[in-house]
C-alpha cells in the first residue's frame, strides 16, 4: 500500500487535444465552428472581391441574383453589389460581436466579482445598479444611448456593450459567491495574498467557464442588436452592415425581396454559429454536466 508514485500517472495530454476531443462529441457544435469559419472567411476575402468601396454603384439597380458575373447576388435599389455588402458586412458584424462582448463581459465580470466577493453593502449597491439597468428594456436603452451619443460605429459598439453587461454580472456574482467560501481561497488568504490577486488570479480562472459560454450568447445578441438598430435607420451609414442592408431593402421588399433576404440569411447563419459554438464550449468546459 505504498503511495502511488506520481511518475506512474498517465502522461499529460496536451490541453488543446483534450478540448478538441470533448468538443467533437457534439456534432452540432462542430457545425457551428464550420459556419463561424465560413463567416471569418467571408470577412477575410472581402478586400479581394471589392477592394475599393462596397457602397459604390456596381451595376443597374435591382438586378436579380445569378444574372451577371459582375454582381453575382444582384444589386439593391441604388445599384450597390449585394455580395460586396455581405462580405464587408461580415467584417462589421464580427467586429461588433467581439468588441461589444469584450466590453460587456469586462464590465459585468468586474461588477459581479466585486459584488460576489465582498458581499455586504458593496453587493447591495452594485446589485441595485444592476437591477436599475435590467428593468429598462435593453433595446429601448440602446436606442436612447445611440440617440444621445450619435450613431457612429464606435458609439454603437459601446452602447451595445453597456446594455448587455447585466447578465454576465449576475452570473459572475453567483460564481464568486460560491467560490469565495471555498477552502482554497481561505488557504491563499492565509498565505497573505491580497484581495485583488485573490479575485483575479485565484477565483476568476475558476469562475470563467460559465462566463465564456455565456459570451457566445452575448456575441449573437450583439449582432442582432446592431442589425435591429440599422433596420430602424440608426446604424452607421458609412459602413455596409447587414442590418443597414435589410433596412434599406425594406422599401422594395415586395418587388425585390432578395435585397433583404440575403443579408437576413447571413445574420441567421452567423447567430446560429455562435449559439452552437456556445453549446460546444459548454461541453468542453463543463464536462461533468452531460456525462452519460
Amino acid at each position: 500500500m505504498s503511495l502511488a508514485d506520481p511518475i506512474d500517472l498517465p502522461p499529460e495530454e496536451p490541453r488543446w487535444r483534450v478540448f478538441w476531443r470533448r468538443y467533437r462529441r457534439n456534432k452540432a457544435a462542430v457545425l457551428g465552428l464550420v459556419l463561424l469559419g465560413c463567416v471569418v472567411l467571408l470577412a477575410a476575402v472581402a478586400g479581394l472581391y471589392e477592394p475599393v468601396d462596397p457602397l459604390r454603384r456596381a451595376g443597374p439597380p435591382l438586378t436579380w441574383p445569378f444574372q451577371t458575373w459582375d454582381t453575382p447576388l444582384g444589386t439593391d435599389q441604388l445599384g450597390r453589389d449585394i455580395l460586396a455588402g455581405i462580405l464587408h458586412g461580415a467584417r462589421i458584424s464580427l467586429l461588433i460581436g467581439v468588441v461589444a462582448t469584450v466590453i460587456s463581459i469586462a464590465i459585468g465580470v468586474v461588477i459581479g466579482a466585486l459584488a460576489g466577493y465582498f458581499g455586504g453593502w458593496v453587493d447591495d449597491v452594485l446589485m441595485r445598479v444592476t437591477e436599475a439597468f435590467q428593468t429598462v428594456p435593453s433595446f429601448v436603452l440602446l436606442l436612447a444611448l445611440v440617440a444621445i451619443l450619435g450613431s457612429s460605429i464606435e458609439n454603437i459598439v459601446l452602447a451595445i456593450g453597456i446594455v448587455s453587461w447585466t447578465a454576465p454580472a449576475r452570473l459572475s456574482r453567483a460564481e464568486f459567491m460560491s467560490l469565495r467560501r471555498r477552502e482554497f481561497v481561505e488557504a491563499v488568504r492565509n498565505l497573505g495574498v491580497g484581495h485583488t490577486a485573490i479575485i483575479f488570479r485565484e477565483i476568476l480562472p475558476n469562475a470563467l467557464p460559465p462566463i465564456v459560454i455565456y459570451a457566445s450568447v452575448i456575441m449573437a445578441l450583439a449582432i442582432l442588436l446592431e442589425s435591429a438598430l440599422a433596420f430602424l435607420g440608426l446604424g452607421d451609414p458609412n459602413y455596409a452592415s447587414w442590418g443597414n442592408m435589410i433596412g434599406q431593402g425594406r422599401a422594395v421588399l415586395r418587388t425585390a425581396w432578395f435585397v433583404s433576404a440575403i443579408p437576413g440569411f447571413a445574420i441567421v447563419l452567423t447567430v446560429l454559429s455562435f449559439s452552437l459554438l456556445g453549446e460546444g464550449l459548454n461541453e468542453v468546459l463543463n464536462p461533468r454536466q452531460k456525462k452519460t
Partner: protein, 546 residues
C-alpha cells in the same frame, strides 16, 4: 438451523463503465448474512462496499454500473428473477436501507411522521389511525424524545442523531428481514454514534433481522460486528468472526489496515519544560450574530468560542478535541485570522495577532500556517503543484525562481516525487493532496501550524501515513502544532497535550496520557467512553506483514 440465511450473495460481479480505474467494481463477492446477525463489510473508499449494497437493493446507477454475474438470494428467493415491480414491493418491506446522511435521505418538505407513514401506506392496507399508531410506536422504539411532537416536526427541526433515528424507524417500520446500513454513523458525533450503534444492536436483537453493516471504521466494527468481511478493490480478502478478524487477522491487507488504526492509549509524554511559549491565547471570544432575513424569523446569536485560553510551546502539539459545534474549528480560524474574533488576546512570539492589520498581519501570516481538512477543496484546481507551494514565499518576497526551486525540495520532504511539481491537484489521490497541502504550509517556514482535521477525510491507511509524516516533520523542524480533531484515537497518538471543548468552552486541558487515563470533567469522560471499540486494543502486528 435448517432455514435459509437471510441474505446470500454468491459470486457477485458488478461492472464499472469503461475508463474507470478497474473493469469490475466487485469481483466474485460471496457473503451470507444469517438470522439475528450483524455482518460488517469493511473496506476503504473505492473498495466497492456501497455498490454491494446497491446491488442487493437493485439500486445501482444502471446502465453504466451494472451487475454482470452472480446470484443474490433473500431468504432463499433469487432476486434476479424478480420484476422491477416485485423488487419495489420488497424494498422497504422485507429489506430496508439506512443511509449515511440522514439530512439528504429525508425529504425536507415533509414531516417526519408523514415519511414513516408513507412506508406503511405503500406496503400495508392499514387504515389511517392504525398507521398513525404504528408510526408513533416506531418513534418510541427508536427512543426519540417526545415522539408525539416529533411526528409533526420537519427533518431540519430535529438534530442529526434524531434524524438518523427517524431513518431507522422508517427502515424498521415493516419489520424487514434484512437491514442494510451504509455508513449510518459516519456523519454523526461520537457520543451520538455510540447511541445509534446501541440502538441498531438492540432493535436487531428484538426483531431478529439480519444486518449488513457497511463501514470503514474498525472502531465501529469492534463495537457492533458479529462477523466481519474485508473488501479490497472489489475483492473479498478475508472473512470471519469479529474476534478472529480484529485480533488475529490473517491476510496481509487486513493486518495492514488494523495496524493503521491508531491506539487509544497515548504513548509516554514528552517533556517540554524548558521550551519557550510560541503561541498564547487568552480569553478568546467569538459570537456569530444571526442575520435574519424578512422570512428568516429571529434566531439567537450563537456563542461559538467563549473565553478560550491555552498556550503552545515550541515543538509541542496541542490537540483541540470536541464534537461538531463545539467551536474547535472557529478557534482555529480566529487564530489564523480567517475569522475576526470578538475579544481576547492571541500572541505569537509576543506579538498580538488579533489586533494586527494590514502589512503587520501579512508579515505575521508567514509564521502561522494552516493545513485544511479537505485536501481537494483547499488546493486551487487550476494551478500546478509547484505554483501552489511557491505562492506563499513569492507573496512574501522570495524571487519566483528560488521559491519554485524550494517548492521542489519541499515535495521531497513530504515524500512526493519531484515529478509531481508540474501536475495539477486533481491528478493526485487524497493522501497525496494532503501532502501537497502540508508542503504549502511548510513553504513559509512557519513557527506554528494549525491543522484543522487534516486526516479526517482520508482512509485509515493513508491517515496513518500522513500522521507519521506530521510527527516526523514536527520533530525535524521543531514545529509547534495546533491540531484540531474530533477523533480521540488520532489525538491520543499525535498530541502532547489536549484541550477538550464543549459548547465553545474549554472544559479540560491536560497532558494527553494523564487526561486519557484520568479524565476529570464529566464531558471528557463521556467522550472517552463513546469512542467506538474503546475496549479493543489493535493487536501489535509486525511491520513485515504490511
Amino acid at each position: 438451523m435448517s432455514e435459509a440465511p437471510i441474505l446470500e450473495i454468491e459470486d457477485l460481479r458488478v461492472a464499472l463503465p469503461e475508463g474507470s480505474d478497474r473493469p469490475l467494481a466487485l469481483d466474485g463477492l460471496s457473503l451470507t448474512v444469517n438470522r439475528g446477525e450483524i455482518l460488517c463489510l469493511v473496506g476503504e473508499s473505492g473498495s466497492g462496499k456501497s455498490l454491494a449494497a446497491g446491488a442487493v437493493m437493485r439500486l445501482l446507477p444502471e446502465p453504466s454500473v451494472r451487475m454482470t454475474d452472480g446470484r443474490i438470494r433473500l431468504e432463499g428467493q433469487d432476486l434476479a428473477t424478480l420484476s422491477e415491480r416485485e423488487i419495489r414491493q420488497l424494498r422497504g418491506n422485507r429489506m430496508a436501507m439506512i443511509f449515511q446522511e440522514p439530512m439528504t435521505a429525508l425529504n425536507p418538505q415533509k414531516t417526519v411522521g408523514w415519511q414513516i407513514d408513507e412506508v406503511l401506506r405503500l406496503h400495508t392496507s392499514l387504515g389511517r389511525k392504525a398507521r398513525a399508531a404504528r408510526t408513533l410506536e416506531m418513534l418510541e422504539q427508536v427512543h426519540i424524545p417526545d415522539p408525539r411532537s416529533a411526528m409533526n416536526a420537519y427533518p431540519h427541526q430535529v438534530s442529526g442523531g434524531q434524524r438518523q433515528r427517524v431513518m431507522i424507524a422508517m427502515a424498521l417500520a415493516m419489520d424487514p428481514r434484512l437491514i442494510i446500513a451504509d455508513e449510518p454513523t459516519t456523519a454523526l458525533d461520537v457520543t451520538t454514534q455510540l447511541q445509534i450503534l446501541r440502538l441498531i444492536r438492540e432493535l436487531q436483537e428484538s426483531h431478529g433481522s439480519g444486518v449488513l453493516f457497511i463501514t470503514h471504521d474498525f472502531g465501529v466494527v469492534a463495537e457492533i460486528a458479529d462477523r466481519v468481511a474485508v473488501l479490497r478493490r472489489g475483492e473479498l480478502v478475508e472473512q470471519g468472526t469479529a474476534d478472529e478478524i480484529l485480533n488475529r487477522p490473517q491476510h496481509p491487507y487486513t493486518r495492514a489496515l488494523i495496524a493503521a488504526v491508531p491506539d487509544l492509549t497515548p504513548p509516554a509524554p514528552r517533556s517540554f519544560d524548558g521550551a519557550p511559549t510560541v503561541l498564547k491565547a487568552e480569553g478568546m471570544r467569538k459570537t456569530f450574530r444571526a442575520r435574519g432575513g424578512i422570512f428568516g424569523g429571529r434566531r439567537k446569536a450563537v456563542v461559538a468560542v467563549d473565553q478560550v485560553s491555552f498556550d503552545l510551546r515550541r515543538g509541542e502539539t496541542l490537540g483541540i478535541v470536541g464534537e461538531s459545534g463545539s467551536g474547535k474549528t472557529t478557534v482555529a480560524r480566529c487564530i489564523t485570522r480567517l475569522l475576526d474574533a470578538d475579544g481576547g488576546r492571541v500572541t505569537l512570539d509576543g506579538r498580538d495577532i488579533l489586533s494586527a492589520s494590514g502589512g503587520d498581519l501579512r508579515a505575521m501570516r508567514a509564521d502561522i500556517q494552516m493545513v485544511f481538512q479537505d485536501p481537494m477543496a483547499s488546493l486551487n484546481p487550476r494551478k500546478r503543484v509547484v505554483d501552489l507551494i511557491a505562492q506563499g514565499p513569492i507573496v512574501h518576497g522570495t524571487p519566483p525562481r528560488a521559491a519554485r526551486e524550494q517548492a521542489r525540495e519541499l515535495l521531497r520532504l513530504v515524500e512526493l516525487s519531484p515529478a509531481a511539481a508540474d501536475r495539477y491537484p486533481h491528478e493526485f489521490s487524497g493522501g497525496q493532496r494532503q501532502r501537497i497541502g502540508i508542503a504549502r504550509a511548510l513553504a513559509l517556514e512557519p513557527k506554528v501550524i494549525v491543522a484543522d482535521e487534516p486526516v479526517s477525510a482520508l482512509d485509515v491507511s493513508v491517515q496513518a501515513q500522513v500522521l507519521r509524516l506530521l510527527a516526523d516533520l514536527r520533530k525535524r523542524l521543531e514545529l509547534s502544532l495546533l491540531f484540531v480533531t474530533h477523533d480521540l484515537r488520532v489525538a491520543a497518538q499525535l498530541c502532547d497535550r489536549v484541550a477538550v471543548m464543549e459548547k465553545g468552552r474549554v472544559v479540560e486541558t491536560g497532558v494527553t496520557a494523564e487526561l486519557f487515563a484520568n479524565p476529570q470533567h464529566a464531558y471528557t469522560r463521556k467522550l472517552l467512553a463513546s469512542v467506538p471499540g474503546r475496549d479493543w486494543t489493535p493487536p501489535q502486528i509486525r511491520e513485515d506483514a504490511a
